[in-house]
Amino acid sequence: KKQLVIVVKGLDNPFFEAINQGCQKWNKENPDSEYECFYTGPASTSDEAGEAQIVQDMLGKADTAAIAISPSNAKLIAQTLKTANPSVPVMTLDADLAQEDAALRKTYLGTDNYLMGKRIGDYMKEAKPDGGKVCSIQGNPGADNILRRAQGWRDSLSGKEGLSELKGEGGWTEVAGCPVFTNDDGAKGVQAMTDILAANPDLAGFGIMGGWPLFGAPQPYRDLFKPMADKIAKNEFVIGAADTIGDEVAIAKEGLVTALVGQRPFEMGYKAPSVMMDLIAGKPVEDPVFTGLDECTKDTVDTCIQK
């Protein structure tokens, strides 16, 4: 069978596993297709060069009919694509190339990360219009999608564009020691949040740009915020968090987070093969194709996730 290849940033992330689930579901539903969906990636999300090497390998493989890439280093993948000059259609998935390299791929399928961050900010601002001291929790220091979310989040809170740190704009101030980079480690995330909270008792909220502290360490997260459940309910303390993976929705239900803004990785994985087949067939395809966002608050948890 010819392969529709999906290369993700790293296998160590359950988010990408959801993409894989979508990919496998597509395979199950299309057993007779001349194509199959093939999922791969480097072992670790931080292995950027490794991802580029896998992209090369896949482009060099005779079976490859089309490829969808989730670039962890957009510039690097762009460079790789330039030198490889692939004959098969290329698209991006989940994360996109930079604006000026857009010509290297046929389309982008995935979340609008900027919008996602903006929505997190919107929820926080709505809950606490006066602002206060905040801290953003980020993942890997080099991850572009997270940086874009953070930008959207800041833009939303400040009402201005392109600030790299909030210093009172729109009433919001980032405290010293923030942003925190957790390197996609849930426990580390919660530990850092605990420290920040201890150091700044007057903190007004957290903006969590990647869901690690919630789905990777749900229990310590609960332990940390259960005593503050009241304040969260009264919007005295606000937490906006990314993703709806694992235990996150349950946490929202318990009222320990103001709002969740989640992506739809399963949908990405499920849709990607069809998009790629369209590209192979030469059919016109929209650019970009945004998968939607699932937005959950305490009240909407039962209905917010698109099935």
């Binding site: 160590d12 359950p14 923030c178 849930g186 201890a198 150091a199």
Partner: protein, 332 residues
């Protein structure tokens, strides 16, 4: 003359105070205490019950593994696979319990996995004379890959019927308000200390690290001890994995990534010598504590995130500096 000989034989070159003060462990302990005093004075938030509760709990996972690692390091070996073994053991526990088995079955499966991996490492190292670095580096890769296979790379956060028991095990505080993981750590440290000082096994571990050839010649079962030591190291990673699972309430396939270097750093900072023959259980704890106190303080002091790595790295180097300066003076 006879008196002199008897007196000489009864003497000891260094009394126990001298040998305590002479060790690196002591100086690192001093550093930890000084750091704590400084933080208590400099911030309101350090010396609170809650912060201390958190710090002591955070320290445990690295510390527990560092105990096993210390044994390995004393024999002159190294175990790079502990982070991945922690991940695999957590995952086995999670998957088994998620499938509806009881917590006992889950823990047994998890411990069993750890022992098998440790035995594999140990057999290759002891009987086929593989370099420990290579074997355990290979296992680092293998164990994490198996964790992905076992879980299908998903987040497991529901642990079947015994869900709450597991969470209480890792997240509770059954005794005097001390976090459970801390209790386990203390028990394991006492056990390790006891084994090292008071058992024949511990004596052999030191002998192998001091002079493996001599140990073999005098009839120490060097190979069996080495296998046991790698099994203990994997076991400690497994135990840490189980406890951590109970604490976190969820398992992903990236937990414990990069932990091996942290654990080795803790053991080495605490005085274990990678050349073999030297190390203590207390040192493992103290080394882990120093790293955690630094990490905690960076948050409390509001240090810029970009600079935090510099502080942590600097502190690791500084921790050994005390000991070096002392040695340096003495030898000159």
């Amino acid at each position: 003359m006879a008196v002199t000989l008897d007196q000489t034989i009864a003497q000891k070159q260094r009394n126990w105070i001298a040998s305590v003060v002479g060790g690196q462990t002591f100086w690192v302990l001093i550093a930890v205490i000084l750091a704590c005093l400084f933080l208590s004075a400099a911030t309101d938030s350090f010396a609170t019950a809650k912060n201390l509760y958190n710090i002591t709990r955070n320290v445990t996972f690295v510390a527990i593994i560092a105990l096993g690692m210390t044994l390995v390091i004393i024999t002159g070996g190294i175990d790079l696979s502990v982070g991945s073994v922690l991940c695999l053991c957590s995952m086995v526990l999670a998957v088994v319990m998620h499938a509806g088995y009881s917590i006992e079955v889950g823990i047994a499966a998890s411990i069993g996995t750890a022992l098998i991996i440790g035995a594999f490492n140990g057999l290759l190292i002891a009987y086929l004379d593989f370099p420990p670095f290579v074997v355990t580096l290979g296992m680092l890769s293998i164990a994490r890959s198996l964790a992905m296979v076992a879980s299908n790379n998903t987040v497991v956060f529901q642990f079947g019927p015994d869900h709450d028991t597991l969470l209480a095990l890792g997240g509770g505080a059954w005794f005097l308000g001390i976090a459970n993981p801390v209790l386990y750590m203390i028990i394991l440290a006492l056990l390790t200390g006891f084994v090292l000082r008071w058992t024949r096994f511990g004596r052999y571990v030191f002998a192998i690290g001091g002079n493996e050839h001599a140990a073999t010649l005098t009839g120490v079962p060097v190979r069996r001890i080495k296998v046991a030591v790698y099994m203990i190291s994997a076991l400690s990673a497994g135990i840490a994995g189980i406890v951590q699972t109970g604490w976190l309430g969820a398992v992903t396939t990236n937990i414990g990534a990069g932990m091996e270097l942290q654990v080795i750093a803790a053991a080495v900072i605490g005085g274990a010598n990678l050349a073999g023959g030297v190390g203590t259980a207390l040192g493992a704890l103290v080394g882990a504590a120093l790293i955690e106190v630094i990490r905690n303080s960076l948050g409390l002091l509001g240090i810029n995130a970009f600079w935090q790595g510099t502080f942590i790295g600097g502190a690791i180097v500084l921790a050994v500096l005390f000991d070096r300066i002392r040695n340096f003076r003495q030898s000159e």
